[in-house]
């Protein structure tokens, strides 16, 4: 009888509080400081241009993680939005106006708009179907910029993007681009942090667990899935616009379906379903893909092996395991001392 009673009253081990020891506002500030310091620290070792590229990729991984890590929908076609953002901002600069801020808005908006339209079809599906339909749309987009729209996109050759200096906004300056991208990354991080910790965030995490049960709670899950898809597409588009401005160039590689492997890897390496994981994964993946080819000829094979290790041994990714170690240490601290 006593043991049965203890089952019902037993408080399971929880360390949820340990990582939430600071008030929300303070934690947000600490997050910003840590992220900024992290990127500043690696800048002298790498280069300003390269770290800017890393940060853009991290924005892209965060947008992917919203859909995969939080909502549980694995897309094999997320590059479509990066490419759409890059092309739309690039074409805007080339044919309409050299204003970089308007170009960024245009690229982000067009990627979001595309997500709005195709999302109406895509989010009705789940599992492999969801992944493959995304892949199919990505392939269509890639083909469109490569061939039928060659007249304006210049096909395989791509085109240069030259922005005019707009007051304080001088995108010809590498240092300015670094700080601007860092600001964008922090804003995206803040936005997605707010979103994923709001009731809406709870809802999309519930959809990942069991969509049918979410419907039992009175939710129109289609709408929330669509909204998440649009948000992920828009943020992916922002990464594309920044990429176009960083390279001053747009070509079909920015929409290449094969490049989807990178964002999936990065998300898994860092730990899906966590924005810090997306940042860590983004940086680690970029380090691997930038430096490993110098030492290993077929570096993709190494990536394959590392994915196997992650899938079988470290499913929570780098950040998930850091969290586990942190919780373990906290548990040890709180545990009663053994008698001497």
């Amino acid at each position: 009888m006593k043991s049965e009673e203890s089952t019902l009253n037993k408080v399971p081990p929880s360390h949820a509080n340990d990582l939430n020891a600071y008030p929300m506002k303070e934690r947000g500030f600490i997050n910003f400081l840590v992220i900024t310091a992290g990127f500043l620290l690696i800048t002298p070792i790498l280069s300003v241009h390269r770290v800017t590229d890393f940060m853009i990729f991290c924005i892209f991984v965060m947008s992917f993680d919203l859909m995969y890590g939080y909502m549980g929908r694995l897309s094999f076609g997320h590059m479509l939005f990066l490419g759409t953002g890059a092309y739309c901002s690039g074409l805007f600069i080339r044919y309409i106006s050299g204003n970089p801020l308007l170009a960024i808005l245009m690229g982000t908006f067009m990627a979001g708009l595309l997500a709005m339209l195709i999302g109406l079809v895509i989010v009705r599906t789940t599992g492999a179907c969801f992944s493959l339909i995304n892949l199919a749309f990505n392939q269509i987009g890639f083909f469109l910029v490569l061939s039928p729209l060659r007249g304006i996109t210049r096909g395989e050759d791509g085109f240069g993007v030259r922005v005019s200096s707009f007051g304080f906004f001088n995108f010809a300056n590498t240092t300015f681009k670094f700080w601007f991208v860092l600001l964008c990354l922090l804003l995206v991080f803040y936005l997605l942090k707010r979103v994923t910790t709001s009731p809406y965030g709870i809802l999309i995490r519930s959809i990942k667990e069991d969509e049918t049960r979410v419907k039992f709670l009175g939710y129109n899950t289609f709408f929330y899935k669509w909204l998440t898809f649009v948000l992920a597409g828009g943020v992916g588009g922002l990464a594309g616009t920044l990429s176009a401005l960083n390279y001053n160039f747009v070509n079909p590689n920015m929409m290449d379906v094969h490049s989807n492997v990178g964002v999936v890897f990065a998300s898994l390496i860092g730990g899906a379903g966590n924005l810090y994981g997306a940042l860590v994964g983004g940086v680690v993946y970029m380090l691997i893909s930038n430096f490993l080819p110098i030492y290993i000829h077929r570096w993709e094979m190494f990536l394959g092996f590392s994915l196997l290790i992650i899938v079988f041994k470290f499913r929570k990714g780098v950040w998930g395991n850091i969290q586990d170690i942190w919780e373990y240490i906290q548990k040890r601290k709180g545990a009663p001392r053994l008698p001497a």
């Binding site: 019902l8 408080v11 709870i202 519930s206 039992f216 009175g218």
Partner: protein, 229 residues
Amino acid sequence: MLEIKNLDVAYGHAKALHDISLKIETGQMAFLIGRNGAGKTTLLKTIIGLLKPLKGSITYQGNEISSLSPEEHYLKGLRYVAQEKKVFGNLTVRENIEIAAYASGEPLERALDKVMSIYPKLKDFLKTKAGQLSGGQRQILLVGRALVGEPKLLLIDEPTQGLAAIVIEEIVSILSGLREKVSAVIVEQNLAMVNRLADRIYILKEGKVARETVERSEISDTRGLEEYL
């Protein structure tokens, strides 16, 4: 409150329910009992809109609801607590309640108070991941979550299945406290619980209503009911 008339339900070509008719008045607790495969869960799933009937009608507060989706049922005040005690395991207990509060428009604090009022000990687990709770705690959380908003009819599938006696007692006392406040249709094999709570019993056998009773003497006759289990 709920009236089902001549309901037929099938899984593909296999008919699971044949000509089911039943009626539940406001404030009543009706129990569905029967052997495994008798169609009890199928009937609950049909009421909540997960399965579409081949024929027949389901009327709730005078309106036909058989063509509505599960989310529309929720908004009409129907709450379904499924058999598998499946909470959102990766969400905390608080978030599990929060998601229901958000859906129903009930302020979170009031929703939390409501759930805590049926089981105050849950307060200790608010920041715990729901997946770490014991089976009994999960069942209580699910019942508590179903009470968020303005529920009018609870549909609960085997609430005591696989639980220890002390936990069953807790659940019986929680459900007993809900009498007169909400109506309920409960699938249950535990006849002691049926005896204590039921206002009406429907015995299902091979997809049909084999017996129906509101008589206290028949509800208390657990031996008589056992032959249907």
